[in-house]
Chain length 389, copies 2
């Protein structure tokens, strides 16, 4: 799905995003936009958090200092972003002749901005952008100020968007749709609520593990790196639970989350699995209130169990258990996963997310309507979901 | 020196190189050059190996198929490349109106090509490019076909060049001087002599450790990743000694070596130390026959010992010993380092490199003439070199 990156025998790596990382990095965003010749931006953002954590004001100050005009604002982009909000953005961007997008927020805001970027130059409805052939070739450049680390959207070319009416959540990777510049100031995250912090950490861990699932064991460098990312996320997750305002821990999680899905972690891993995401996308398409990270964390052990026993991934997951948790066998790794989630107050069952067993066939059908990885049938997917109850 | 990449509180990450990795990746190079509008290239290369391993012929075939003309060839670039050869290249490129450079070779060839790239548009002598203010702004685009993995020059913006007469070896990082596209086909490396293989592995390990030396211990993500790189290099190094033609092992080393110095491994590590390289540069300036990797491998434990005891890096290196070799204390890590080098038939003392203790003051002076890291005096540097005898 994201950052496929082939195998040891054939891969392409390309990621031109300029990252400005650290305290006050946002103060550079105006200059980065202006120096590329853009004078009119549309700002995209979520709710009140960008106003509260200072990211909005810092961005505005930097734009002003560099004579970049804010010609429109698309506010209130929600988690699990929806296509109607992006349609609104496309209209705003066109009406106001925006020359670039400044996304201030997390993955939902940046994902919506990527759809808007292409939609602004697409003749049809923005929902159909992923099916355009050839791909939409013109786009609004995207600049981002990241306020929560989780999806790595700040440094990749993918987005996920849903249509509530269709109960459909679709991922799309456009070859050129990378942000031009992303500012990551971990200070903005020191005040995040704990559940959002955990969801971000878990999201990054699952990205890494989705990619890890593509291994056959010969990819020593990729596996060592991914195990390192996972250990760092576990260690920093525990650290942040005790000390949520610790800047360095936030910064380490931020860097790990970016690396977990910017092409590096997946290099040579055959595109990974993405079964966890496919099922989670169905869950949040049914109930947009399900946090992405929460759904992923619940489903992960079920997917490990299924892939280990049904498609020969046992040795790969045994290695994961050993090298990330120091335990023997993938089942012990799954227990370690669940134990950490419980320690972090994260849900661990489908029931806790509000789903009932009767919904399994419907969820499985939604997954397979979009497309099943590993050649799985709806029965396979149903069996995985069953394991997560 | 290379890829400074600040700290957790302030870093920039930017690497726009497109990597095409895997078997037959070279067959794409003509299209990559032609599609960017370049029709006239100068080829840069070393000695006979590019002719023997097939990389030269594959490149020529791909250029022909895409109507790209080879207007000149700069051959016989040696290891520890020298400025006179680059001067020759500048003349050739100008006389023949080359529009781009195709480097076929390892770090020396690519480094020379980077100097040539800037030198072609510099009014003065190419040796003075690093001291131009402002930096040279026009450059010949660089495309590379990598034939030996070690320096990561295929994916960074630095080069090292020496002047034999001056006994001076200087490193330079230009903000934009990245290759545009690099092809890495590990097949070309399956026939490499063992000493070149080891030198490449050791070079990549030392790059990682130079950066690691910049840590204060708070950079959990960077440290975990670098430990992963080091473990992979150790494991694959041992694997290749038994099975030098193993494609997957070559591919894992290739990817690790690229990551070891493309900005990724050094992110947040304050630019690292680079003391090992500074001293090694003096060694090969004195005797160009000293292989870069050989000098680095010999000096590494001495530098660890000195930094651990004199500038407070003991805990960082204790962590390294534990996480890379599973041993307690940095001294045990140094022993593991030396043991691996001996197993690999790599020199471990200055004497084996052909140096005598009488030369220590001269070497130390050369190092400090270029600039000493950590505020070290020539006496400090001499003490480090003494430890390596």
């Amino acid at each position: 799905m994201f950052a496929p990156n082939g195998s040891l025998t054939g891969s392409i790596f390309y990621n031109p995003v300029k990252l400005i990382f650290g305290k006050d990095s946002t103060s550079k965003i105006g200059e980065e936009i202006a120096s590329r010749g853009f004078k009119r931006v549309i700002i995209t953002m979520g709710g009140a958090s960008a106003l509260k954590n200072g990211s909005y004001q810092q961005s505005i100050d930097s734009l002003k200092a560099n004579n970049v005009e804010v010609v429109a604002e698309l506010r209130d982009i929600r988690a699990n972003p929806e296509v109607n909000k992006v349609r609104e953005g496309v209209k705003l961007a066109r009406e106001n002749q925006a020359e670039a997008i400044l996304a201030i927020g997390g993955g939902s805001v940046i994902d919506s901005s990527k759809a808007l970027s292409l939609g602004a130059f697409f003749d049809g409805d923005v929902w159909d952008v992923p099916r355009a052939t050839p791909p939409v070739s013109k786009r609004l450049p995207i600049f981002t100020v990241l306020t929560i680390s989780a999806t790595a959207s700040e440094m990749n070319n993918g987005y996920v968007l849903q249509d509530d009416e269709k109960q459909l959540k679709v991922a799309y990777m456009h070859p050129d749709n990378f942000p031009t510049v992303s500012c990551i100031d971990p200070s903005f995250q020191t005040g995040l609520p704990w559940f959002q912090t955990v969801n971000g950490v878990v999201d990054a861990m699952v990205h890494t593990l989705e990619l890890y699932a593509g291994a056959d064991g010969s990819e020593e460098t990729a596996l060592q790196l991914d195990e390192g990312l996972l250990r760092s996320l576990v260690n920093c997750g525990h650290g942040l639970q005790k000390d949520p305002e610790n800047y360095n821990l936030r910064a380490n999680v931020a860097w790990a989350a970016t690396l977990a899905l910017n092409g590096y972690s997946g290099f040579s891993l055959r595109g990974g699995s993405w079964l966890v995401h496919m099922i989670e996308h169905a869950l949040s398409a049914i109930d947009p209130a399900v946090a992405h990270g929460a759904g992923l964390g619940v489903l992960m052990p079920a997917v490990i169990e299924y892939l280990a026993t049904k498609i020969g991934k046992k040795e790969v997951y045994d290695r994961w258990a050993k090298n990330v948790y120091g335990v023997d066998g993938y089942k012990a790794g799954m227990e370690a996963w669940v134990k950490d989630l419980k320690t972090w107050g994260h849900p661990t069952t489908m029931g806790e997310l509000g789903f009932k067993k009767e919904q399994i066939p419907h969820i499985a059908k939604l997954v397979c309507d979009v497309g099943c990885p590993h050649g799985f049938t709806p029965e396979d997917v149903a069996a995985v979901i069953e394991l997560a109850f």
